[in-house]
């Protein structure tokens, strides 16, 4: 009996971890190019709303999912214009993007609050889903979870094994050298921002099309910020991001279960858990050598003069 509860909890962990995983991988992609984007929360919630609206009007959740990615890219393009085009401070620009994105999504979304959209349904993978323990935890989810399994290894391959990946890392690590080597650093940074934003939008879409099938105000509830913290915890590595995202998924799933079980603990204390954990995670990651793995030129703009 308790064993089944634990399995169910771990399956819920994967589900709550998935939106954070998409967003974290997106932010890793952006930061690898040397751009710090604190607008994850904004890009995510815009993605969530776009996915919801497109799915509702076309009846096709796949279209909604893709539209969310594009909307995420479009949102982060604002950050690109301000920071790459106009040399704006990356910290403040990202914050502004979050304020704008959350405002915009809640503004447009007001009329949709409480409505539902056709979302994704669980789809057990034949064969894999029947494996004891692993099956129910990892292979009885909706298709968006399976897509997320592919992204982390693909990103790793991209960074470690491709020319483009190397160029992107060079733009983030040592832009002056990259420019001297003939690379178009600005173009790589644009790539970092746009592709990163695409994943952030997908993370938002997961919330409105799979996690819930509803639209509510402030749907993302700080998950974008948790993703920013997880990038540091993950030492900018996609593999560790998976671990970090599921850690948070676990604490969120646990918190929901505890609340539902009618515990004596006040709900405000339970709701604190993910945020306290974020601080703890940052403390823990700094204990190890990790911070030296931060891209060398993260958050530093490149001089526009040609």
């Amino acid at each position: 009996m308790t064993f089944e509860i634990i399995i169910a909890l771990l399956a819920a962990t994967v589900q709550s971890g998935t939106p954070i995983l998409y967003a974290t991988l997106g932010e890793i992609f952006t930061e690898k190019s040397g751009v710090l984007n604190l607008g994850v929360e904004g890009a995510m919630i815009i993605g969530a709303l776009t996915a919801f609206i497109v799915a509702r009007f076309t009846g096709n959740p796949v279209l909604g999912f893709l539209a969310a990615g594009l909307a995420g890219s479009l949102a982060t393009a604002i950050h690109g214009v301000v920071c790459l085009g106009f040399q704006g401070n990356q910290v403040v620009s990202g914050l502004a993007l979050t304020i704008l994105g959350v405002g915009l999504a809640n503004y447009i979304g007001t009329g949709y609050v409480g409505m539902s959209a056709p979302g994704f349904q669980p789809l057990a993978i034949p064969g894999l889903a029947d494996i004891p323990v692993m099956g129910p935890i990892f292979f009885q989810h909706d298709p968006l979870v399976y897509v997320s399994y592919l992204i982390a290894p693909l990103l790793w391959l991209f960074f470690a094994r491709t020319r483009f990946g190397l160029g992107l890392r060079a733009a983030g690590e040592y832009p002056a050298a990259a420019i001297a080597a003939g690379l178009n650093v600005a173009a790589y940074r644009w790539l970092g921002i746009m592709v990163g934003g695409f994943f952030m939008g997908l993370g938002g879409a997961y919330l409105s099309l799979a996690y819930t099938h509803l639209w509510t105000t402030n749907l993302t509830a700080g998950r974008g910020w948790i993703a920013v913290a997880l990038v540091i915890f993950a030492f900018w590595r996609p593999g560790r991001a998976v671990f970090g995202a599921y850690l948070f998924g676990g604490i969120m799933a646990l918190q929901l279960r505890l609340q539902a079980s009618g515990t004596q603990l006040p709900s405000s204390i339970l709701l604190m858990l993910p945020y306290v954990l974020t601080v703890l995670v940052l403390v823990l990651s700094s204990w190890r050598k990790g911070t030296s793995e931060q891209p060398g030129a993260l958050g530093v703009n490149i001089e526009p003069v040609d």
Partner: protein, 354 residues
């Protein structure tokens, strides 16, 4: 098409040019907002006029704008102190909450103390609590090199939930019919209003504290060290400036100022502690501080402007049913356009020759 090229200016852009860029940025934000109003089915001209009327069009509106500008100003002043050193304190919201909690604790514990002792004690506790909430991320940053942006932000969520925990639990007023709020403060714990206006004496606190911060940066050695270290951390370290201690100092000052704002909100505005005081002043403060380029006097002007925006959006909501989130859109747009306009401080665009 005319192609443009960016070149460096010999001298930074003068005051006239800066004002022009700022006005262009604000107009652009307003224009985009008007388009969004139109798309939302509201007449943009009507909307913008309701926004301005609601913010500054009557005595009541003006008083409300100033009332809301008080906490925004104090939080922004605090944020600006930290930003001077390029310490990204996003935590004014949480430090504000802790200030309100600290002040409430004193107000509920010693309601019978005379006013001239009770109010200073409340201020002291508010500053201590807010300052502590600012010190924690500073210490973590220093000892463990954690990122203060994330830590301060997470501590906002934690502080707001802690406030909820108190007002839904141990501090809950038994006679409040289930509403989450503490009992009302005693007469001695309340900062009163100025004469017959709706504005409280917190306005005077703002003037005094703003002046003090101005003098601190202008005339004290530590203020100068903070500015110098903020401009160039490495040079400051070589010059032997106590960078780590400065980080702690600015974060405590920052938190204490936001805490003071929390005290005023609890004591003067709602006369008790309740969750509804957390409306995001701490985030608006970041927009204000950056708009004002961290200068105390400009922070005052920007605080009144953005407080007016909040009040105006309330009118928009009441009169034209525009969602409250519209305020966030304008704030975000203003910050983005002003940030982009900053390019012209040090660079100029010239037509590209073939």
């Amino acid at each position: 098409m005319l192609r443009m090229r960016i070149t460096k200016r010999q001298e930074p852009l003068g005051i006239g040019g800066s004002c022009f860029v700022l006005l262009t940025a604000l107009s652009l934000s307003l224009l985009v907002s008007a388009v969004l109003l139109y798309l939302g089915g509201t007449s943009p001209i009507r909307g913008i006029s309701v926004l301005f009327q609601g913010a500054f069009g009557s005595r009541y509106a003006l008083e409300d704008s100033i009332l809301k500008a008080i906490p925004i100003f104090l939080c922004a002043l605090g944020v600006a102190v930290a930003f001077r050193l390029k310490i990204w304190n996003i935590g004014a919201e949480g430090q504000f909450a802790l200030g309100a909690i600290g002040a409430t604790w004193i107000a509920l514990s010693f309601p019978a103390w005379p006013k001239f002792i009770l109010l200073p004690a409340m201020i002291g506790m508010a500053m201590a609590a807010g300052g502590l909430w600012g010190l924690i991320p500073a210490l973590l940053r220093q000892k463990l090199r954690t990122n203060e942006i994330i830590v301060t932000l997470m501590m906002n969520y934690i502080a707001i939930l802690f406030l909820d925990f108190l007002v839904y639990g141990v501090w809950k007023d038994p006679t409040s019919f289930g509403f989450p709020m503490t009992p009302g403060f005693s007469e001695q714990a309340i900062v009163g209003k100025i004469g017959a206006t709706a504005v409280n004496w917190g306005l005077v606190h703002c003037l005094v504290l703003g002046t003090l911060v101005f003098f601190f940066f202008r005339f004290t050695r530590i203020g100068f060290e903070i500015k110098a270290s903020g401009d160039n951390v490495r040079a400051a370290r070589y010059a032997g400036l106590p960078y780590d201690r400065l980080v702690m100092l600015v974060m405590v000052m920052s938190g204490a100022l936001a805490g003071w704002a929390g005290f005023l909100e609890a004591s003067a505005t709602v006369n008790r502690l309740q969750p509804s005081i957390m409306v995001g002043y701490g985030y608006t403060a970041i927009v204000v501080a950056w708009l004002a380029r961290l200068h105390p006097l400009s922070i005052g002007i920007a605080a009144v402007l953005l407080a007016g925006l909040r009040v105006g959006v309330e009118s928009l909501q009441l009169d034209l049913q525009v969602p409250a989130a519209f305020g966030g859109i304008i704030e975000g747009l203003i910050l983005l356009t002003v940030l982009a306009g900053g390019l012209f401080t040090h660079y100029r665009l010239v037509p590209r020759k073939h």
